[in-house]
Subunit: 328 residues, 2 copies
């Protein structure tokens, strides 16, 4: 999940001097803010600072990111000719800045912690591309699925191929694991989730595994899709991320050891009193209980108004409590 960001004064100091996209596109800045949470908060892994929308941008859409009002594209995708104009970008050309950020971060981390690369799921990127910006209900994106399933598949296929190339290039640049974020999976009905989201995630996982076998763990997170956990596992991911609405003991039972589980503290807990943070964190660790395969994480991105000391308390609590259940 998102670790870098506005909750860190050290991040805000850099952000004050550069806009968001410039930070993504300047490897030195991206590497610096990627490593901040490792140094300051003490997390066990770093996730590269970037944005899921660099893919649509590399495919040919002009992107504006304003951290306040959210991302926006100059135009949105609404017709077959719009889809045809999009390219499947060669990462070493169009997304070189991300790959450079990954290599530089790897070098700067010097094997202290693993580095995670990420991408949005095809459906999540499709939703932004068809809407032209973030919305609450994704009326335009879903209407395209209902009205033009063939065109939707054409676009999703193009996005999926772009994401596969991108994730493979990120791994080649040094990422130790990758995560696919299906942020808007939970907006879809079960049939549409499978048809328009999971099949493309599965295809990406297939492409990555065809290249690297099982050497690179693939984490898949679909927000609001806890009901369909068994289907998420069947994408062939190595780790399934769950949001805070899923109960981790139920998730452990459903997953049945087929994948590891990442999650799932409600990020809002970090805006609470210390005793609530400790209790809720302990509760999740206890509910998973003994056995391998739990990566403690938030159930969604960290909130901008999270006090840094609360993030630190979380990390300390996880490290301390985990000892009861895990001996290595």
């Amino acid at each position: 999940m998102r670790q870098a960001g506005r909750y860190l004064p050290e991040y805000r100091a850099i952000r004050a001097k550069s806009d968001f996209l410039t930070m993504c596109k300047t490897p030195e800045l991206a590497a610096e803010v990627t490593i901040q949470p490792v140094d300051i908060v003490g997390v066990d892994a770093a996730i590269i600072f970037s944005d899921i929308l660099v893919i649509p941008e590399a495919m040919g859409m002009k992107l504006f990111v304003n951290e306040g009002s959210g991302p926006k594209f100059e135009t949105s995708i609404s017709s077959e000719s719009d889809v045809d104009k999009l390219i499947i970008p060669e990462p070493t050309e169009k997304l070189k800045y991300v790959l450079d950020a990954v290599s530089l971060t790897k070098k700067m981390l010097n094997d202290r912690v693993p580095l995670i690369g990420f991408a949005g799921s095809p459906w999540t990127l499709f939703a932004y591309m068809v809407e032209g910006n973030g919305t609450k209900d994704f009326v335009k994106a879903k209407a395209m699925l209902f009205n033009e399933p063939k065109l939707s598949h054409k676009l999703l296929e193009k996005i999926a191929r772009s994401v596969s190339h991108y994730l493979i290039a990120k791994i080649e640049a040094g990422a130790d694991a990758i995560q696919i974020f299906d942020t808007w999976g939970g907006m879809l009905s079960y049939e549409m989730l499978r048809e328009f989201s999971l099949r493309y995630v599965q295809q990406i996982i297939f492409d990555v595994k065809a290249k690297f076998g099982n050497t690179i763990p693939i984490i898949f997170f679909s927000k609001g899709s806890g009901m369909w956990l068994d289907d998420l596992v069947k994408t062939n991911c190595d780790v399934v991320g769950i949001d805070w609405t899923m109960d981790i003991s139920v998730a452990k039972y459903i997953v049945g050891g087929r994948t590891a589980i990442q999650g799932n503290l409600d990020p809002i807990v970090l805006l609470s009193k210390p005793e609530a943070i400790v209790n809720e964190t302990k509760n999740i660790i206890e509910k998973f209980g003994s056995g391998d395969g739990h990566i403690f994480n938030l159930g969604h991105g960290i909130l901008p108004n999270t006090p840094v000391e609360n993030a630190k308390l979380l990390v300390e609590t996880v490290k301390e409590e985990s000892k009861k259940y895990h001996h290595k």
Copy 2:
């Protein structure tokens, strides 16, 4: 689900002359817009035109409703003294306008279709009252649950008692069925959903059934809680409402005849082409299949930009397709 509203030109004509709260508080106007969808679209039941926030208002909070930017309270609830100041309103005094609207609508409907009364769940009302307005993540409301569980329970208890009295009064005024909307249930973890939402819904259902036995069907809808359908059923409701993310065949299996099921077409389907509307509607009816206990409905409120002819097509399709499975 919401049936009256901006998608009907006849509604907009009335709304152009009165603000939203005036419409709620003028029985003649509320009755008129309640009956519009019955006359125009041909639905099989009417749901009284009102707003869930009339309860917090009757409890003592000053409410402003703007259909564009959403509802807002003059002040929000943040301390024990704020909670203590709230009253448990006597519906025949503070909410007489709703009861009058119910009786008038009943009279005007003249038994053509049943009339449904509704209320927000205590947690959903709590969220609005603590936030002071609608938000996306309910940071303040959830932080109160984490930080001050006792105070939260005190407030929820007060809201639940207010809702019980209100629903009982609505039934006495003529409502044939009632629906409880837990719009924000899906924002909570499983444990918090049970502790802070479902137990109060169960209490309200207990209160209503203590008065009326099983003569008045109680519909319970918790958006985004499909994962916990078994717990929703255990509130002792007569009908469980499901949103479009749940699969109705899975829901039928889990519910196992303990309650009827209401749902679950994605409202966005009504912004699609006619063939998509027909196909998606047929799909849901086929998936429920034969047997009693399916109330066809949208999986959430109708969208303001829904073309009226699409709403009509939906109703026609449901009536026609249902014949294959239901013979009365």
